[in-house]
């Protein structure tokens, strides 16, 4: 597959995805097709910013949950050792 074919295939796929998105959004909000296409870069930028912000918060949540889980497992192991030690 040559470069032109790749570009053509990628363009067709991107166009199909764009058309699907525009039609779905038009059906959901009733905006015009041109307006949707024009607002697409700003929407994408907004979505990227929001996703980055949510990813940062989710990362913090994940770190906190991981620390809590590790502390819990450590506590459980210590409790198990303290229970098994007198028996041994």
């Amino acid at each position: 597959m040559g470069l032109a074919s790749k570009l053509m295939f990628s363009g067709v796929a991107a166009g199909a995805a764009l058309a699907y998105y525009v039609s779905q959004r038009h059906g959901r909000t009733g905006e015009s097709y041109v307006g949707i296409v024009r607002s697409l870069p700003a929407d994408a930028q907004r979505w990227v910013t929001d996703a980055r912000r949510r990813a940062t918060l989710a990362l913090e949540d994940g770190k906190s949950a991981a620390r809590e889980r590790e502390t819990e497992i450590t506590r459980q192991l210590a409790a198990t050792d303290s229970i098994a030690a007198p028996a041994g």
Partner: protein
Amino acid sequence: MHSALAVAASSTPSTVLRYAAAFFFVVVAIATAYALVKAAKALERVDNVLADVDQQAVPLMQKAGTTLDGVNANLGNVDQITKDVADITDKIDKMATSVEGAVTTPARKAAAFSAGVQSAFSSFRRRDRGADASEDPWSAPPGADDPAPASSAPSTSGTAAAERTGEAAAGAADEAATADSGAVDDLAGATAVAAGKVSDAAADAAGSET
């Protein structure tokens, strides 16, 4: 006659006593002889028993000594086995400790990592749904980037209102994001607050345009 009788009468008690003493001594002599015969027989039997014991005790003692030597040897073997078992137990203990240290730490890290990934993914998805509930992240706020429709020309007041609306929505989304991640009720409350701020900003924008 009378005198003879008197002599006889006066000498009779002593004669009787003499005969009685003689009889008593004879009886005592017979009993003593019988006892001595019995004692001789008993001593003879004791002598025979001692002779038998003397003959059989030495081999018994030798056998007992041999048995004790064997028991001591077996006890030595048991002692060695006990030491070996103790060594094996120590080695198993060390090996178990090493295995536990080699397995527990990565397992704990893996469990913590999986819990963190799960929490992060669920938090990301929950905030995604919260953002979808408040606003569509792909849809611009009214009049933000969309050029003004043909009916109304673009105005600076509309742009400012849109910016205020966007800021209010972002602030509300931040509130929703910083709310308690585990409580759906809090998330719904923050979403309601966000919707209220959006509506307030829209009302301000409409008022400024008029």
